[in-house]
């Protein structure tokens, strides 16, 4: 194939397949440009940045079209830009959460007027930039995108932490966040380089296949040492983003120093993206697409032959002669039923690591929250504890992927674990086996369709429970932080003791606080209860009893400090010197808090739609 043809194919692939798939990201990029232009052309238009961001976020959500994924029975997986990004149910779900959060965040900042209106343009450029990075984290399929997404999400957050740049606590928070964050990113990058070097690829599915083959053939001592070291270092970066315990120390300081609105962004959006990335990484490694259990596939090479050819060519053009040989070698040895067992040690390692992280994070977060007198600091520890709860079902999902392969009938040893033996289910197997050259890469990168509604496996339900929890968590934490922000504007304090007697002045806000706090504990009839219930049922299915015990114990522990906030508002008598005259800003602030609390009740009674969507999104990742 000649060079012009290659260019033509690459262009066609980018323009007709890849670019349409990242329309939300393009909308966000456009928003950033518009924000910068608006500041330059119309500097006097005070509410301009708010409108531009609001419209941009709404447009991004509209072109993402999450409702299309609500009733698509089959999850579809589309690798774009020669495998750099992947668009599937999980990425659409996470990106919708992120964009919904962006919309609500703009409204919150508009209402609470942080920062001073003149800085609003800069604030939104940073926030939209961070959201863009988080969207890329949510759909990363290549280690380059993992690194880029994480950095794009982190860098604006460092600045956001110090957005009130003349306040001492704010600059200190930003300094700590930037130094710890950059250090964690550096360590993670070193770990990534080790992993990529040992496994010989940066493309996640390829990397997973290589790992399976390596484990099958038995790694040397040096290789296992490097793999362990690399994955631990990678875990450092992820644990930092998740604020999991050994790397949590930035969270309380940053949350206390930064405005409550930025705290909401860090605790909701940043964590959503990091958790999505964690799920993607561990599932890519422990359940490689080759062994997809529910892959009753109908990938015809005819269905999308042109893009396949294109990606294949583009890859060859990009990688020179070395890499394709490696991939072909791996394909020759691929269709074996032994591979799932070969991954068992990897799975055990990841489950152990995640369980340890979850147990320590959860317990530490809840215990440290007790002595806090500052509301934002208390919420920071609560965020840490919730990171622990959120890691639990991921560990469960990894443990459960091991249980899938033996259940499924192995037909002829070729198709590994196909759900329905009637249909020929070789997901990638035979297609990859026969053709000995570049064609194979094309088929690997080709969209893999999973037809028919396969019954959701336990592992899928575990991932679905994570997604459901993230959706509920968005509203719980946003409610808690927006109440803090509204109260800060009203009474000028973030100390819990200063909330005394609020119940007589603003009963509606106290009810909102109570609902948000009880939902964070996980009491019925609130959405937080369902979220915790799904998580613990996933843990039970995986028979990780230690996690269940720690999770249950921590839920009880957390009840007391969340209740303390409500108690401080209700029981002590109001100080007489304070009066809260009703102003328009305060009324709107209260209405906003009520608005974000309503979903906590609504999602409890109408949870089916969300759970079904989460289950579908989860099914697409396997």
């Amino acid at each position: 194939m000649s060079l012009p043809d290659l260019v033509q194919n690459a262009l066609h692939d980018a323009l007709h397949r890849s670019l349409p798939a990242i329309r939300p990201e393009l909308a966000l990029c456009t928003t950033i440009v518009c924000l910068l232009l608006a500041q330059m052309i119309l500097p006097r238009w005070r509410s301009g940045p708010y409108w531009v961001t609001l419209v941009g976020a709404a447009a991004a959500l509209a072109v993402l079209e999450p409702w299309q994924w609500l009733d698509v029975p089959a999850a579809e997986r589309l690798e774009i830009f020669t495998g750099m990004l992947v668009v599937d149910g999980l990425s659409v779900f996470l990106r919708s959460l992120l964009l919904v959060f962006l919309l609500l965040f703009v409204l919150l900042v508009w209402i609470t007027a942080v920062p001073p209106r003149d800085d609003a343009g800069e604030l939104f450029v940073l926030v939209v930039g961070a959201t863009l990075g988080m969207c890329m984290m949510a759909s990363a399929n290549h280690l380059v995108m993992v690194v880029l997404g994480m950095e794009m999400a982190s860098l604006p957050c460092y600045v956001l932490a110090g957005i009130l740049r003349f306040r001492k606590p704010s600059t200190e928070a930003a300094l700590k966040f930037a130094l710890f964050g950059a250090g964690a990113a550096g360590i993670m990058l070193y770990g990534l380089s080790l992993l990529a070097g040992v496994l010989g690829s940066l493309h996640l599915p390829t990397l997973a296949t290589q790992l399976a083959l390596l484990m099958h053939s038995g790694p040397t001592a040096e290789q296992s040492l490097l793999l362990t070291l690399g994955s631990l270092m990678l875990a450092v970066g992820l644990a930092f983003k998740l604020s999991a315990v050994p790397f949590h120390f930035w969270a309380p300081d940053v949350f206390e120093g930064a405005p409550a609105e930025v705290g909401a962004l860090l605790s909701v959006a940043s964590k959503t993206a990091a958790l999505g990335l964690l799920v993607r990484l561990v599932l890519a490694v422990t359940a490689p697409a080759v062994m997809a259990p529910a892959a009753t596939a109908d990938i015809g090479p005819a269905a999308d032959s042109f893009p396949q050819q294109t990606t294949a060519d583009a890859d060859v053009a990009g990688q020179g002669s070395g890499a394709p040989a490696a991939i072909v070698n791996s394909n020759a040895a691929r269709p074996t039923a032994i591979l799932p067992d070969a991954l068992a040690p990897v799975r055990r390692f990841i489950v152990g690591l995640l369980s340890l992280l979850a147990v320590v994070t959860c317990t530490f977060g809840n215990l440290a929250a007790y002595g806090q007198s500052n509301m934002k600091r208390l919420l920071a520890y609560s965020t840490i504890a919730h990171a622990g709860y959120l890691i639990m079902p991921v560990a469960a999902a990894v443990a459960l992927t091991g249980g899938i392969a033996p259940d499924a009938p192995a037909s002829g040893g070729v198709a590994v674990g196909n759900a329905s033996p009637g249909q020929t289910a070789e997901a990638d197997g035979p297609a990859l086996g026969h053709s000995g050259d570049v064609q194979t890469i094309g088929e690997r990168l080709a969209p893999r369709r999973i037809a028919g509604a396969a019954p959701a496996s336990a592992a899928q339900m575990a991932v679905a429970s994570v997604l459901f929890y993230l959706a509920v968590y968005l509203f719980m934490n946003l409610a808690a932080f927006s109440i803090t922000a509204v109260l800060r504007n009203a009474i000028g304090s973030e100390r819990i003791d200063d909330y005394a007697g609020l119940v007589r002045r603003w009963p509606s806000l106290v009810v909102c606080t109570a609902l948000a706090m009880f939902s964070l504990v996980g009491l019925p009839p609130l959405a937080g209860f369902l979220a915790k219930f799904y998580i613990f049922s996933a843990v039970v299915k995986a028979e990780l009893w230690l996690l269940l015990a720690v999770g249950g114990l921590n839920t009880v522990l957390s009840l007391f400090y969340y209740l303390r906030v409500v108690r401080a508002m209700v029981l002590p008598p109001a100080p007489n010197d304070q009066s809260l005259p009703e102003t328009a800003a305060r009324r709107i602030g209260r209405l906003y808090c009520i608005g974000v609390t309503i979903p906590l009740v609504a999602l409890f009674f109408w949870s089916e739609t969300l759970m079904q969507w989460a289950a579908r999104a989860a099914a697409g990742t396997f």
């Binding site: 300094l175 002669s321 007198s373």
Partner: protein
């Protein structure tokens, strides 16, 4: 295998990378000046770069099949850009911190705790 008599291969580069990494970590954890910590972070990032370029080189590796080829060098380029961006942001923040507290000593950044 004696590394001093072997022809230069990936291993040698990995050793350089590891030394850089350890120096960077030491620098990060022992420096009290915020700028010193940033320098440590740069060292760690460059250690990763050395690794990536070495793994990506098709001449250094005997088994070309395992080479990450251009991907390694691509990521190294991105890391250089990221390091620049990170340095810009972190230095701006350090300057901001200096403006409010008149120091860049990270041990003095202890107003927030509890």
């Amino acid at each position: 295998m004696n590394p001093f008599t072997e022809p230069i291969g990936v291993t040698h580069y990995l050793c350089v990378g590891a030394v850089l990494m350890v120096c960077g970590m030491l620098c990060m954890f022992t420096k009290r000046n915020a700028l010193g910590v940033l320098m440590g972070i740069e060292l760690v990032l460059n250690a990763a770069n050395v690794n990536l370029v070495a793994f990506g080189s098709s001449w250094l590796r005997a088994d070309a099949a395992r080479s990450i080829a251009l991907d390694g060098q691509l990521l190294a380029m991105f890391v250089i850009v990221l390091a620049a961006a990170e340095a810009a942001v972190a230095l701006a923040i350090v300057l901001c911190y200096y403006n409010t507290q008149a120091t860049v000593d990270v041990d003095k950044a202890s107003k927030l705790k509890g």
